[in-house]
Amino acid sequence: MLINRFRSIFAAVTLASLLLSFASRIPAQQSAVDVYAITGARVVTVSGPTIERGTVVIRNGLIQAVGANVSAPADARVIDGTGLTVYPGLIDAYTSLGIQQSTQQAARTGGGGGAAQPAQSPAQQAQQFSSLNPTQPVGLQPEIQAVDYVRPGGAEIEAARSAGITAALTSPREGIFMGQSALVNLAGASTTEMTLRAPVAMHVGFTPLRAGVYPASLLGVFSALRQMLLDAERLRTANLIYEKNPRGLKRPEQDRSLVALFPVLTREMPVVMFANTEREIRRAVDLAEEFNLRLIIAGGSESWKAADRLRERNVPVLLSLNFPRRATAQVAEADPEPLRILRARVEAPRTAARLAQAGVRFAFQSGAMTNMADLLTNAAKAVEQGLPRDEAVRAFTLRPAEIFGVADRLGTIEAGKIANLTVTRGDLFDRGTRVAHVFIDGRPVDLRPTAPGATAAAGGVNASGTWTLSINLGEGDVSSTLILEQQGGRLSGSIQGALGSAEIANASAGANGEIRFTAPLTIGGQTTEATFTGTISGNEMRGTVQVVGRSPGSFTGARPNAPAQQTPPSTSRPTEGSK
């Protein structure tokens, strides 16, 4: 079984690298006109019926032709598509791909006249990062632009491409008004080359930033949002009045944070609000209704429970495929897990089918999952739970293109559209399907295997055990207990403590002690997803915590009782209950 898997991975790598080396050998002057033809493939156009055996021609970054009777041009590099299926390039509808730096920190160091990074001149800094506007509370900076932060390349972008993703909405994840997102292709030498559309939407999260500074609670988050929207509306009105007749009027005091909200108030720009539970979603809809905003929900795990209001207000959902699952064993001494948690895990893969049935538009997003191999696996679970396959394809292609206003250039396989294509061996939603080729802007990209366990620790560091964590999110240390269980590259476990208790998800462990996992943390009454990245050395670990809507924090951990490395697993447990 394992050998089979390795063989297939090997095949994929070889194929991809062959393709790439072929492409890279083409001289530069010719690369300006790249022509490819995928022949004899099943083509899921999304715009029309699926072509069972057809050809897609790509020229100069665009789809030139598609059809059953199209033949490959003489100057095209031909890819034999027998046994392959061509889809419009998959779009990840909500990520922070390419954004490495904390927007809050960048703004603080870049603009406030503070210490600039030594590698860059102040002018470069000023060009890159908009400075923090001091007239608004920290975390309420709607003027922040994702494109100012996106950098091409990197392991995360590679992992997403290898999972079949060609384009992604990328947005800063810190703050309450987090800033404005960009839709980017996951290939290109520069941010400009990557950018498909920017700005796309305003992003809002409801997590208070830190204790002691308003807004420090969920209560304050709502009033701060409300006051700022009111202030923006007033400035807009004042500007209109002043422009009409300035005589006798004091000129309105401008504020670039408020100005950045004008397109939101006029409904030109949609607002993406991060909301997962039913009540978070209903609150977001209430707020959007109050200010007549064009709302998009991101997350949406319980969105089916609010489907009535979402449909009524025509609110689309960027639905996370980062499904929760149990990661620890149940032990007789422990409290049983609450029914609500058991239900939520079982319900999560059903949400997509329910939204489709209720007529709520949705697009898939990876939900900050750490192992991108779960993306298609989890989409397949949604299909198994009753989501029609064509709806599932749409949720990865045309729907996000529509929601982000680029359906005229992206999201289907039609002549004239951007040549973003995802080519698989097998149907996209069959388990065991592999991504064979990915074309972005008409060029094939390098694929890396994403199978879990491929880089598994073999006799390396073992993360298993009970760890005492000390988590610092900018408000002093908070302690939690982290229980980990590692099997090869697979990591599972749970976290319990002052920030709530939950199973960890999307966990992986590397050979040299690198670990990654996500867990929902409860901060200030709001549950929010945190991504832990760190390394283990001996019985200590340290790393960083990324929380949606916050500046990155750090954590350290210690393991009082290391796992017995060489002890074989005991086959029979003592049967205490037998008396």
Partner: protein, 493 residues
């Protein structure tokens, strides 16, 4: 490998179908219930009658009725008397040997909120409890099981002027919109003494101590806020006057969400619920209120209210208190269990509240204590958890007693509610059953079955390795929990 995988998928599918069953039956029950209410249209539910038959009715407003019936139509009490004749399709609840009273009203609750305090500023009148309600809080169900139907969900007491409250009916299981008590006047939390001056609460690491730090400071903060509110109102009044004179080229003043609710208080459109302990600070707040021309609706906790009962009565405020909780901080030492009795005799509208998800389940017993200590009559004591809090929340024309025309918010007990041996059989809100003890008992087996099915579903199965360390038990609630203290590092009591 493939065969194995297929089998796994098949098992997953089979299990997930199974696990869907209880959910289906739950939703079927729900539709069943609504069909019971009205078979043709949603509006038809208003037509269906319910008859509670042959009960001992504690009306609160006009004594105890023996062997009497309550007829409910359209969510309202349509008739109270003997041998009432219901419509053909009416639902009959046989209450022979049972005691029926109006649903209990808790005038100080922090149930169903995801945040209690915005403790950064001394004045946080801009924050709204309505924004952070959590209708899935299981405490709500427990409160229904204690006969409670209405809550005054308050902001915490970290600020001299705190956030805006929300009055809800506990329509557990419904979307949050349906909880909001229709037409209840808006209110706000104030707080005096140790909590707003942050005596017992360290400031967050690296933060300076928040102003005010003394009772003088608290008074100043309130006076300052209302002075600003008065100016703010004047600014808007001037703008409106100029707009009315058709003056052109006017830019409206800024809307200030902090001051708007204070203007509503000045205009008598928002009820003030003031957390307070000491007699001197109660007098201080009465003075400020009278200086600015508004009224305090309730003094919450008010353990020393008995010392200034006549002054409170003269001002026209109510008191919402504990019967025998004290000594948990310095300002809570000078308390007596006769507080209720003295206040009621002085003519102060007095209610007994919980300020605790735990105590909220047994407010009937708290009221019974007032009979022992304060020599209240049974009806006077019942009023402290029904009619009186209804007045304090401005909803006394809708709830608080069993009278024709009022909302059918009703608790049915198996014995007299002042007995510790009694328990609630059924709780109705607007004529609909939201707690039914028999149904609860019957449902337990279903939930157990659902758990077994869910635990076998793929996402709930433990990883193959079986895990090594036992999961830690979840933190358990102490018997005397005060919600603010636990959830928010905040405070209230």
């Amino acid at each position: 490998m493939r065969i194995k995988m297929r089998r796994t998928i098949a098992i997953v599918l089979a299990l997930s179908t199974l696990s869907a069953l209880p959910l289906f039956s739950a939703s079927a029950q729900r539709t069943g219930r609504s069909q019971q209410r009205g078979s043709q249209a949603p509006a038809a539910s208003a037509q269906t009658e319910t008859l509670i038959r042959n009960a001992t009715i504690l009306t609160v407003s006009h004594g105890t009725l023996q062997n009497s019936d309550i007829l409910i139509r359209g969510g309202k009490i349509a008739a109270v008397g003997q041998n009432l004749k219901p419509a053909q399709n009416a639902r009959i609840i046989d209450a022979t040997g049972k005691y029926v009273m109006p649903g209990i009203i808790d005038c100080h609750s922090h149930s169903m909120v995801d945040a209690i305090n915005e403790s950064t500023y001394a004045v946080t009148s801009m924050v709204r409890i309505r924004d952070v309600l959590n209708p899935t809080d299981v405490d709500l169900y427990r409160e229904l099981a204690g006969g409670v139907t209405t809550l005054n969900v308050l902001h915490g007491s970290a600020n001299a002027i705190g956030g805006q409250n929300t009055v809800v009916k506990i329509k557990y299981g419904r979307p949050v919109e349906e909880f909001i008590f229709p037409g209840a006047p808006p209110g706000i939390k104030f707080a005096l003494g140790e909590n707003p001056k942050r005596t017992n609460f360290p400031s967050p690491a690296g933060q300076p101590r928040r102003y005010p730090a003394t009772r003088m400071g608290v008074e100043e903060v309130i006076r300052d806020a209302f002075t600003r509110a008065r100016d703010y109102k004047r600014g808007w009044d001037e703008y409106r006057a100029r707009a009315q004179r058709n003056e052109k080229n006017l830019i409206p003043p800024r809307r200030d969400l902090q001051l708007e609710p204070l203007v509503e208080i000045l205009e008598g459109r928002r009820l003030v619920h003031a957390h307070s302990y000491r007699a001197d600070e109660i007098l201080m707040l009465i003075q400020i209120a009278e200086e600015f021309g508004f009224k305090i609706r309730t003094f919450q906790h008010a353990l020393e209210a008995y010392k200034v009962a006549s002054e409170i009565a003269r001002h026209g405020a109510g008191a919402s208190i504990f019967v025998d909780q004290w000594g948990y901080k310095i300002e809570a030492y000078d308390a007596i269990p006769y507080n209720v009795g003295i206040l009621v005799r002085a003519g102060v509208n007095t209610s007994i509240n919980s300020d605790s998800n735990e105590r909220a389940r047994r407010l009937n017993i708290e009221a019974a204590k007032a009979v022992k200590y304060g020599d209240l009559t049974e009806e006077e004591a019942l009023k402290t958890i029904t009619m009186n809090p209804a007045w304090q929340l401005g909803i006394d024309s809708r709830v608080g007693s069993i009278d024709v025309g009022k909302d059918a918010d009703i608790a049915i007990w198996n014995g007299h509610p002042f007995s510790v041996y009694s328990r609630v059989e059924m709780t109705l809100i607007d004529g609909e059953v939201f707690f039914d003890r028999q149904q609860d008992l019957a449902r337990r087996a279903d939930l157990e079955r659902e758990r077994v099915t869910l635990e076998q579903a793929e996402p709930n199965r433990a990883p193959a390795s079986g895990g090594s360390s036992p999961a830690l038990p979840r933190g358990r609630r102490p018997a005397y929990g005060h919600d603010d203290d636990e959830l928010d590092g905040g405070d209230d009591q």
